[in-house]
Amino acid sequence: MDDDSRFADFVAARADALLRYGYVLSGDPHDAADLTQEALLRLHRAWSRVYRKDNPESYTRRIMARLHISVWRRGRRERLFWDLPDQAHLDTLPSEAEQDLWQALKGLPRKQRAVLVLRYYEQLTDAEIATVLGVSRGTVRSHASLGLSKLRSSVPHPTATEGSAS
């Protein structure tokens, strides 16, 4: 099997998962598609090395996270390879509390959001997050704590909306 076939297999198997990750990172379907596309382009360029020495999926996710927080990237988008359907409706999220939280995430600075996504969606440790984003562990902790406190103040207290659930 040659490099291009392996790459095609990887994209076929993992593109949707990468898009899901891109979507929670950015909160926007176009940004999700753009991040995924750009990261896969870079992965292709480095494929023979990454395939042999690294994990292609973590490599791609690392690129997506870094692209998303990079100042350089803001306002830049490449032409997408495919047409996206209309924006998904948020009311498909199961509870009002989750919808509020999803909305509140949009108000966070990119780095804070990225740290929270890496911690609570990717389930990475703070040390791993520091490596992915290329920042210190202390920076990760402070972004996480600032992000969480903003979310806490912008979503209703759980006991107020859900009674004394669990």
Partner: protein, 400 residues
């Protein structure tokens, strides 16, 4: 409280991720195609490492008699051996006549970038005021190791000098500006002996992005990324289209062809060639299932339907396998830079005509990263790369 918020966040992110768009079926095909186009574009734009050399190669061709008139039916026969994998001797041992090592910094400590050959023993160097933004060009004499400034270069913010070529005692280059959202190219020259920069005055603005320049006698020939080959007197005047070359790009003067290096749909680059001095034409043989076919003046490389790589003459004859495909084609129709087995890693310069190869000396660092030399297409003459405290310079034209 914190725990609850964290739990809710996990759940909300998980549910929201399900609202993400889905990938189209053919995503990898698009990615591979654009990745190749990007690589080629990047090479064309940066004219970095090896690509550079429009300058010297062309100058020699223009001065020589008959240029490459016989190039479509070359007398050289590709060597039957495929790309080698053992570790060869160093390039300076294999081709001592073609390899130089010069310090990576100019006297005074400034860094520079080699941009091509001015003549057989003179390098054109560029210094930068910021990333890729040139502020001066220099001539470096490889025989005496003397360096002298040719001229200072000043460009507006976001505008870069590129496409250097040499000939007729002048260094020419271009800048591409964006006017009302569209690219406009300007041309400039300075005497090789040193002096002020002069604009090549054109009667009308040149709309489009210059992709390759060549000095032909007292005229500047250029092609546009958008297609089309033109000439203009170096001392200024009307820009004239070259007959029969609409949509063409300069490959190696007097050879122009179509499509150029930018082939977004995966077409074979330079499948059609035209010699603008003799009118001779050539259409390279390309089979339907082949991909990434890159043609030069005499040869083509690409991958077959079964993903194995090949090279052969333009007429389809003398096809040979390559162990690894070359995205950008062959430099001077014969050179490749295959990767060496790791360990020790690095790259070799491999000559398909003689079957010789030389170790470039590059090795991965502790992180496994190393400087990669990607050879240019067309007539790329210079290979230049930093190695420790020296720059290695290879003149491919001196390898016989």
């Amino acid at each position: 409280m914190n725990e609850h918020l964290e739990e809710m966040l996990r759940s909300a992110l998980g549910h929201a991720s399900e609202l993400a768009p889905q990938a189209p079926n053919n995503l990898s095909t698009h990615i591979v195609r654009r990745s190749r186009v990007r690589r080629i574009r990047a090479q064309a734009l940066l004219a970095a490492a090896a690509v550079v050399v429009i300058a010297g190669g062309v100058a020699v061709a223009v001065r020589g008699a008959g240029h490459d008139a016989t190039a479509v039916n070359p007398s050289v026969t590709p060597s039957p051996t495929a790309t080698e994998t053992r570790i060869p001797a160093s390039v300076e041992k294999v081709w001592p006549e073609a390899v130089w090592k010069i310090p990576v910094k100019l006297p005074g400590g400034r860094k520079f970038n080699p941009r091509g050959f001015v003549d057989d023993h003179t390098l054109l160097l560029e210094t930068w005021e910021s990333f890729e933004k040139a502020n001066a060009i220099y001539a470096y004499d490889l025989d005496s190791d003397r360096v002298r400034k040719i001229t200072n270069i000043r460009t507006p913010k976001g505008v870069y000098a590129s496409g250097y070529a040499a000939g007729g005692g002048r260094i020419v280059w271009q800048t591409i500006d964006v006017v009302h959202g569209k690219p406009v190219t300007s041309f400039w020259w300075a005497p090789v002996s040193g002096g002020e920069v002069t604009a090549v005055a054109t009667e009308r603005a040149v709309k489009g992005s210059g992709d390759k320049l060549t000095v032909v006698g007292d005229r500047l020939a250029f092609s546009l990324l958008e297609g089309g080959v033109f000439t203009v007197p170096l001392d200024g005047g009307a820009v004239e289209p070259v007959a029969g070359a609409a949509g063409h790009h300069i490959l190696r003067w007097p050879w122009v062809g179509t499509p150029g290096l930018y082939t977004p749909e995966g077409e074979a680059s330079f499948q059609e060639l035209l010699n603008v001095e003799t009118g001779e034409t050539s259409r390279a043989v390309v089979h339907p299932e082949e991909q990434n076919v890159r043609c030069g003046v005499t040869t083509c490389t690409g991958t077959r339907g079964d993903h194995t790589a090949f090279y052969r003459l333009r007429d389809g004859s003398q096809e040979r396998p390559l162990t690894r495909s070359s995205m950008s084609g062959l430099a001077r129709d014969r050179f490749l830079t295959p990767f060496l087995p790791n360990p020790p890693g690095g790259q070799a310069l491999y000559d398909l005509v003689t079957g010789k190869s030389g170790d470039l000396g590059l090795r991965p660092n502790v992180k496994g990263q190393s400087f990669a030399v990607e050879l240019g297409f067309g007539d790329g003459r210079m290979v230049a790369y930093p190695l420790g405290s020296e720059y290695v310079i290879i003149d491919l034209a001196k390898i016989r």
